[in-house]
Symmetry: C2
Subunit: 330 residues, 2 copies
Amino acid sequence: MPPGEFEIIERFFRAPAEALRRERGDVLLGIGDDAALLQVPPGVQLVAALDTLVEGRHFPVGTSPDSLGHRALAVNLSDLAAMGAQPAWFLLSLTMPEVREDFLEGLARGMLRLAQEHRIALVGGDTTAGPLSVSVQVLGLVQSGTALQRNTARPGDLLFVSGTPGDAAAGLALEMGAAPGSETTAVQQQWLRQRFLYPVPRLALGAALRGLASACIDVSDGLAADAGKLAQASGCGVRIDGERLPVSAALQAQLGGAALCAALTGGDDYELCFTVAPARVDEVAARLANVKCQVACIGVLEEAAGVRVFDRGVPVGFDLRGYDHFSAAG
Amino acid sequence: MPPGEFEIIERFFRAPAEALRRERGDVLLGIGDDAALLQVPPGVQLVAALDTLVEGRHFPVGTSPDSLGHRALAVNLSDLAAMGAQPAWFLLSLTMPEVREDFLEGLARGMLRLAQEHRIALVGGDTTAGPLSVSVQVLGLVQSGTALQRNTARPGDLLFVSGTPGDAAAGLALEMGAAPGSETTAVQQQWLRQRFLYPVPRLALGAALRGLASACIDVSDGLAADAGKLAQASGCGVRIDGERLPVSAALQAQLGGAALCAALTGGDDYELCFTVAPARVDEVAARLANVKCQVACIGVLEEAAGVRVFDRGVPVGFDLRGYDHFSAAG
């Protein structure tokens, strides 16, 4: 007989989670009661995000459970990074068709490795039989009044992005069986896959941007779409200069002339897209000196609504809409 | 073309959610940014619960979306009730195979009706295409140091349960096509169904028990199993006197001699099961005078581990294990 739902949490998640809870000291009750009981320090505000990964939608059938565990937590941490918040605790709701020990070991390993890195405690959740999906809910803290928002940019603010967007989409394509480009080395292929399988939530960057960035959003549905959401929420539009986009050598090798399109529209990057007032642009380099993550200025917020992309001054015409789970083909 | 995922949240949930957020005044950012930003008042602790309902597991295929919306929130509120906490905010992760407006209208109506009743604000979430499931994450607050726990009962403490357990299981059976008992009136059948479709989270009861109950748990997997969990977490065992169980007239009519079994093992009750030290039992009636919910003393905590059930002094032998999603038949 397979282990039941209570033993699942117990066996694979409880011991490592318990160690992290002890280390934090602010988890009064964790896994094992009806709800978690958490101590919020004074002077902070609470930040909460909930994201679900569904098999066949957010990850291909057959994705390694280690990557799935990592991604399910990482995509939520990315939401907190976009707010400039520090993650503290998370809850896990796991739905899976059957109990497979190797799967659960891998999932717990990938998830708790990332949790350990950021000292976040797993404090509750549930497991159910059903089609494979993983819901994670992350709770974080931010010093009162300092959270980054997406709706606070102004026309004239400069637009930045971290990392090299588009890699994850190319990595997912490789995972799904796309042919490697003739120029793409094996190391580059592996690197692109890793960019999809193990996204790095930009928590240190988000924290460093508090008090400097005028607005921030994480790039999950494609850079152009998410920059557009930031602009729209702020009541303005945005111009992106394609030639300024930081395109990785691996993406360039893999996609050649299509690399720009992937960088603008590919999903799953989990980079940060943020704005800085012109008068404060000189502060960016100093502020980010200790953050291990490159950023590039790629455009500017404008009065007129909409997203306008240029490549060396020529308007770029392809579809810039972000990924939409219900409108997407397939 | 069906509406996309951003419009879904926008159209069906945002306006009513916005009204509740304004009313509360502690939601600094709700739906529409990367994460919710929430103001936690001083002197409280945070309580967090996450539960997922999966079609075919937690509710039958064809369940009304209004009931599904209610239940997805209610089961989480029940977890907070068991802690004696006051719910404040919730997040929703909705996975569904296709966008159907009537379905979403019903789901939002059922969920937001209950949210309005308890003045809880929807502050975030996501929607995805996939097999139907609803994850809700509730955040609540409790005055520091007063939360109820399940692991703090002592041998000799008296065991109580609220409401009339077993009704929901009988109601689910009717929903699944079971034949009504020959004694069961149409009104009783409808009442039993409602007990499954619209469970009432015992928030006022939980709040009233703070400082009085020595331990508390909510009854979701069956009374005997959940009383057993409370006892085990507290390092003791429990004796339940079956003849003291409050069995509803409807359940009695529907199941006759099997009503006791349903009351002990039926799931989905979302009643509270709690313990009170013998010296304080006299306080129960006064404390609960303003709570619209009957409670009954049904047993006692004992030194010896395990769950022992008697019916007028005779040991009851049937399987007392609670519902387990992976071990359950089917």
